[in-house]
């Protein structure tokens, strides 16, 4: 709801034209009737509502939670709530934000790079043990997270990384999910003919990766990047285990705010809203890239 205007506003005319053009050659089925709009609007409303509710609480006093009928319009307390949030010395909120940006960006870049590379190898290159290795990667995703907590922590102790940001970065530079996703996508989206043609031209696999595969998988890579960024941004259990309160990620700051002893809901929600805001911004950025990427990819392939 809040986002509607900026999203539409950011569409630059050139991109729109490109999209229009691609629409003609694209695979969209039929024109949307009123029913489609109603259903989509409903879906959009349901998606946005809880976020909107968060915003409402963030702009009101602490009494909002638990009043009946529920309060559904924003109030004027946002500044006050944010002020209390920033004054809260225990939370280290700004430092948490900064740390989260750093951590999430590092992890995202690495995951996208390694996943597209490996995904390409699994989808389009033939090598001994390919299927078995892919299976191993899928299997790695099945490892319950809570399980690794203690051994991974012991490892961090041995490396001397406890309390340092690299402890929440390095173990996550690769992702089985990412590799699997890029493999699935590359398998269907990268044309074998193009790869063969490039090979005939004497291109090395690295060049093929760079010139053929990367452009073709960009939409999925953007989705993966977005996904990774958000997951890293929102991760709690591991940062909580390995970092300290004075060097937190933003979720740790939030936890400090929201944990049991004094629940100041409007402060918590103000924090949550502020912590979600950068994500929403990244989200808009990447959102355009996903959509734009799909269309541009279609033109370039």
């Amino acid at each position: 709801m809040v986002l509607a205007a900026p999203v539409e506003g950011t569409d630059d005319p050139a991109a729109t034209r490109r999209r229009r053009k691609s629409r003609e050659s694209g695979a969209e089925v039929g024109k949307a009737g009123p029913l489609v709009y109603i259903m989509l609007a409903l879906g959009a409303a349901l998606s946005v509502f809880p976020l909107y509710f968060m915003f409402v609480v963030a702009t009101r006093t602490n009494d909002t939670i638990g009043s009946l009928p529920p309060v559904l319009t924003p109030g004027g307390q946002l500044g006050d709530n944010v002020q209390r949030l920033l004054d809260n010395e225990d939370a280290h909120f700004l430092r948490g934000l900064l740390n989260s940006v750093l951590v999430s960006a590092s992890v995202t870049i690495a995951v996208v790079l390694f996943s597209t590379l490996a995904g390409f190898a699994f989808a389009k290159l033939r090598f001994r043990g390919r299927n078995a290795l892919l299976l191993v990667i899928v299997a790695t995703m099945a490892i319950p997270v809570q399980l690794g907590l203690i051994p991974l922590y012991i490892l961090m102790v041995e490396l001397g990384w406890v309390g340092e940001l690299k402890a929440v970065i390095v173990p996550f530079l690769v992702s089985g999910f990412g590799v699997f996703m890029m493999r699935q996508y590359a398998a269907s989206a990268v044309s074998d003919e193009l790869i063969e043609a490039a090979k005939v031209d004497g291109c090395s696999t690295l060049r093929i990766y760079w010139n053929v595969v990367l452009p073709a998988v960009r939409p999925a890579a953007a989705v993966l990047g977005l996904f990774t960024f958000m997951q890293t941004w929102n991760d709690f259990l591991w940062p909580y285990s390995v970092l300290n309160q004075d060097q937190p990620t933003v979720q740790l700051s939030l936890a400090t705010l929201s944990s049991g002893y004094y629940s100041d809901f409007s402060q918590i929600f103000a924090g949550t809203a502020l912590a979600t805001l950068p994500l929403l911004m990244v989200f808009l950025l990447f959102g355009r890239q996903i959509i734009g990427g799909i269309m541009e990819g279609a033109l370039k392939a």
Binding site: S188, T205, V217, T276
Partner: protein
């Protein structure tokens, strides 16, 4: 991305090795050698970073846990005597474990099936000539941007017995307040709703990306054969989406069976790791947590976690098989 007419997409068929053949064409000898070396070695280099980092940060914890599961290992205890398969034997007769597995399975079904169905529907709605498409696309994936913690805080409010919006609305229809945490069906549904809310849009986007890769002429051909929109959807879209559906099902299985934070926070308050007064919504992951950090029985927790790991593997392969079979009919 090749929706270009001249480069048809080989999206059909089970994912397998690309068609072999015409590779040994006429090429210069040296370049053939180099290219052979390239194609022999570089795949391994491309997957090396993953396996390298995984070995350190993934495999080691796994092996370590397996080792721990064979001991009577109390967290922060002084000694860890060897106990062989005792922990696994205990697990077989542990009602609480089976209950948690049943809950996990129930929540998994309640979240995966509606989620993927809805995602397919939304994707097909989005895959039309549409005004405000950016807006719609972004709004359905917006929930992803929130952290589990935020989702849980908000939904706990919505599902509150006395002051929740949902009970208040139901009250308008004369339905008396439901205590959502109290029964299996209600707690499962509420938790599934959180999961669905967060991930439906994401899956819709994945489906959409795949739908856009389907060449338009396939639909035109189908239309010429007299297939209506529904037939086109079931005959063209769904079969071509099979690899993507497979992908999302496997991801949902893996995520669903590890569900932890949502049910934990949904059952807010003391002893929330129990997942309700009679463990109505305790998942296996929560049971692992309970054993490790409430009872400090790290050995048993490790055994449960390992069994969970094997169950996920089993289910993921079963699902993969089922989806393949499903698509194979067409």
């Amino acid at each position: 991305m090749s929706t270009d007419v001249t480069t048809p997409v080989p999206a059909t068929g089970p994912p397998g090795p690309p068609p072999a053949g015409n590779r040994q064409s006429r090429k210069e000898h040296w370049s053939a050698l180099r290219s052979r070396a390239d194609s022999k070695i570089s795949p391994y280099l491309y997957i090396a970073p993953f396996f390298l980092l995984f070995a350190i940060f993934g495999l080691y914890p796994l092996v370590y846990t397996a080792w721990v599961s064979l001991h009577d290992w109390e967290l922060a205890g002084a000694e860890h005597p060897w106990s062989g398969l005792d922990n696994y034997r205990q697990l077989v007769t542990d009602e609480v474990f089976w209950n948690s597995l049943w809950n996990t399975f129930g929540i998994f079904v309640l979240s995966t099936v509606p989620q993927l169905t809805l995602a397919l529907l939304i994707a097909s709605l989005l895959n039309r000539r549409l005004r405000g498409r950016t807006f719609f696309r972004l709004s359905v994936i917006l929930p992803m941007a929130t952290s589990v913690a935020a989702v849980s805080i908000v939904f706990s409010q919505l599902f509150s017995r006395d002051f929740g919006l949902i009970n208040w609305t139901l009250g308008g229809f004369g339905i008396s307040p439901i205590e959502w945490q109290a029964s299996k069906w209600s707690s499962w549904s509420a938790i599934s709703l959180m999961v669905n809310w967060r991930w439906t849009g994401y899956n819709a986007l994945i489906f959409l990306a795949a739908m856009q890769a389907i060449p338009r002429d396939l639909y035109e051909a189908a239309a010429l054969d007299g297939a209506g929109p529904w037939k086109q959807f079931t005959r063209v879209t769904v079969p071509l989406l099979r690899p993507t559906i497979l992908f999302t099902v496997i991801i949902a299985t893996i995520g669903g069976f590890q569900l932890f934070t949502e049910p934990l926070l949904f059952n807010s308050g003391s002893s929330n790791y129990q997942g309700g007064s009679l463990r109505q919504s305790q998942t296996v992951s929560m049971y692992v947590w309970e054993n490790a950090f409430v009872k400090f029985d790290f050995g048993y927790a490790s055994a449960v976690a390992w069994v969970l790991f094997l169950i996920i593997l089993l289910f993921a392969s079963l699902n993969a098989l089922a989806v393949r079979r499903l698509g194979g009919k067409d």
